[in-house]
């Protein structure tokens, strides 16, 4: 009984320390959660790529690199990888080009407009990406699609244009769905900027355009890097958009992972593709950050 009370006391003591004393204490619950429900499954998934699985039975003694080597020797893999990379990069660049003006205008706008921009940016996140992807199918679809039916009614075209199931529709959908993840970090950085820098630039005789490119853009680079890394990571690994807006013949690495694990049930192949997708994504994000740090070496200097 006494020992029992002591145990409860010491648990409370530990909790008190975690909550009140700070340090790494407060993140321990999150670390435990992520360890069991994120890191472990990921390790298991990746491990499946290096053992043989026969009708759902894993043979843990048969560790080999066979699946890995056969996959990276396959030219089809590289073909699909290139499409993932290309689609991710292009839609990220579009997100940047579309998101930057929005974030910049946000910082110039009055309070009312700012709220409007923020609501317009965040509210799409409240609906699932799947629903938004279906919405694009309705908009871009064949004869009955919104765009085509308007163009047909106006007699601007004779036959419906084939928007869906192309690079165009995939990149369009991805850009729209991921745009908030670009706008938000940019708003954070741009609205914290020191306005006197712009006034100083104007005072030194620079035009507003030169001030924008020589002062505002370099100052906002941390937001650009954060947004770029974030949007690239989710575009590169997105499978809903290429699956639905790309159609049955349009595959990316993420789509392949889904196909092999859920449809074909070849867990070995699916796991090795997932492993390659995640590690390459990790290194791309690392590379983006490295480039960012190199471009922002002025931020790191100390006296």
């Amino acid at each position: 009984m006494n020992a029992h009370n002591n145990l409860i006391d010491s648990i409370f003591e530990i909790l008190r320390n975690i909550i009140l004393r700070g340090g790494i204490g407060p993140v321990i619950p999150a670390i435990i959660f992520l360890f069991f429900f994120f890191a472990m499954p990921l390790v298991v998934l990746c491990a499946f790529g290096f053992v043989s699985i026969d009708r759902g039975v894993v043979d843990w003694t048969s560790i080999s690199l066979d699946h890995l080597t056969s996959t990276i020797k396959d030219s089809l893999f590289w073909h699909i990888w290139w499409r993932s990379f290309w689609v991710g990069t292009v839609s990220t660049i579009f997100c940047l080009c579309l998101g930057y003006p929005v974030a910049y205008i946000y910082t110039l706008a009055g309070r009312g407009w700012q709220i409007l921009i923020l609501v317009a940016t965040i509210s799409p996140l409240l609906t699932s990406a799947l629903v938004r992807t279906y919405a694009w199918m309705v908009i871009l679809g064949g004869r009955r699609g919104v765009v085509n039916s308007i163009l047909l009614d106006l007699d601007l075209i004779d036959r419906p244009i084939r928007f869906l199931y192309s690079d165009f529709s995939v990149i369009l959908g991805m850009t729209q769905i991921h745009l908030p993840f670009m706008i938000l970090p940019l708003i954070t950085v741009l609205s914290a900027r020191d306005l006197s820098l712009e006034q100083a630039s104007l005072n030194l005789g620079a035009s507003r355009l030169i001030t924008f490119f020589k002062i505002i853009v370099p100052i906002s680079l941390p937001g650009v890097i954060a947004g770029f890394a974030l949007v690239f990571a989710i575009s590169y690994t997105n499978f809903i958009v290429p699956q639905l807006l790309g159609g049955g013949n349009y595959t990316t690495l993420a789509v392949q992972v889904y196909e092999f694990i859920v449809v074909i049930l070849d867990w070995n192949k699916g796991a090795i593709l997932a492993f390659l997708l995640l590690t390459s994504c990790f290194f791309f994000v690392l590379g983006i950050n490295y480039l960012g740090n190199w471009a922002m070496k002025w931020k790191e200097v100390t006296r």
Binding site: S196, Q199, A200, L204, I215
Partner: protein
């Protein structure tokens, strides 16, 4: 270059920020706009730089009216309160910025940057980033960045605020020497009276959007126009008295004649009092309420029955050594001529 400000008015919403401000600054003169926060001094400076456009009135630089000229077409040097150095550019690139956007040939730019950095004594730091510099060094870079364009006038907005007290004084002296060497017309904004006294040829005291008084530091200290000016620059003992047949009774045995009628404000500076002997027939009798040593002088506060506020005295240290708190003292004036009499405005 000469600067003329003609009846500038500016409102922010319903608030009158500047009311009929007029100022004329001679070529090569250093004028300080001095006033409490919110008096409109920074807004006036920003009107000169073109960051704000006045609602009415005109600004002339030399013979040219610049009231509505955009801020990037004025060639007016501006040193910001936080210096606003571009953090992503090195010291040399910061100084070079104005030349680069004017497409000056790069060889000439290099020469000018070296020359200007040498002028402020920083050429050995040209490859550093602003974050790597001390506050004083950052201020010098900001000055160099403005001066390299040979601006028509130089404007400084609370430029010494970010420096610690000791460095502040030496940078103020250095600034005055520098702008006199360059010969540029300079307007500074500050709320710090010591700074204004240190650097200025003339001081303009601002209060609630108006310029109350313009004059040399000693002019303003010795002959303030208003009670506000008297209190803002230095310490002032204020007495409000009624004039009777051209005579004002200041204290026992202390009368002075004046041409004003009605109520007047009499200003006595702390150093114009002195401690007299006990049997003196004129002045005030009171007790020491507070005493502090300020190096060469001692500051005393003396409570007198018939005077509302404590009298504030400043006397040489050796004369006040045994005047401790609670001691009764007699106080008089060294010379009645030093008094300032300000008539009260007649309310119509």
């Amino acid at each position: 270059m000469q600067l003329k400000i003609n009846k500038i008015n500016k409102k922010f919403g319903d608030l009158d920020v500047l009311v009929d401000c007029e100022l004329k600054v001679m070529d090569g003169e250093l004028v300080t706009l001095l006033g409490p926060s919110g008096c409109g001094k920074t807004t006036l400076l920003r009107c000169l730089a073109g960051f704000e456009i006045p609602d009415s009135g005109n600004v002339f630089l030399g013979n040219q009216e610049v009231t509505n000229v955009p801020c990037n077409k004025r060639n007016v040097g501006f040193v910001f309160q936080n210096y606003a150095l571009f953090p992503h550019l090195t010291v040399a690139k910061n100084v070079d910025y104005g030349l680069a956007v004017r497409s000056v040939p790069s060889k000439k730019r290099k020469e000018l940057v070296d020359k200007t950095l040498a002028l402020v004594g920083l050429n050995y730091l040209d490859n550093r980033y602003p974050k790597q510099l001390s506050g004083g060094q950052q201020q010098r870079v900001a000055l160099a960045r403005a001066l390299i364009l040979e601006p028509k006038i130089l404007l400084l907005d609370e430029a010494f605020n970010a420096l610690d007290a000791k460095l502040r004084i030496s940078m103020q002296i250095e600034l005055r020497k520098l702008v006199k060497k360059v010969g540029i017309t300079t307007i500074c904004v500050t709320h710090d009276q010591i700074e204004a006294l240190t650097i200025s040829d003339r001081i303009a005291i601002m209060n609630q959007g108006r310029i109350d008084q313009i004059g040399t530091p000693s002019d303003i200290y010795e002959r303030p126009n208003t009670e506000f000016v008297a209190k803002f620059l230095g310490t002032a003992n204020i007495f409000t008295r009624k004039v009777n047949n051209g005579v004002v009774q200041l204290a026992r045995g202390l009368e002075l004649s004046t041409n004003y009628n009605g109520e007047v404000t009499i200003v006595v500076r702390p150093e114009d009092f002195y401690i007299t002997s006990e049997n003196c027939k004129e002045g005030w009798i009171g007790t020491v309420a507070f005493k502090r040593l300020l190096g060469p002088t001692i500051e005393l506060e003396i409570a007198v029955d018939e005077v509302e506020n404590l009298l504030r005295l400043s006397i040489p240290r050796r004369e006040g050594e045994n005047l401790n708190v609670g001691k009764q003292v007699n106080v008089s004036l060294t010379d009645k001529k030093n008094l300032v009499v300000i008539p009260h405005k007649v309310e119509l």
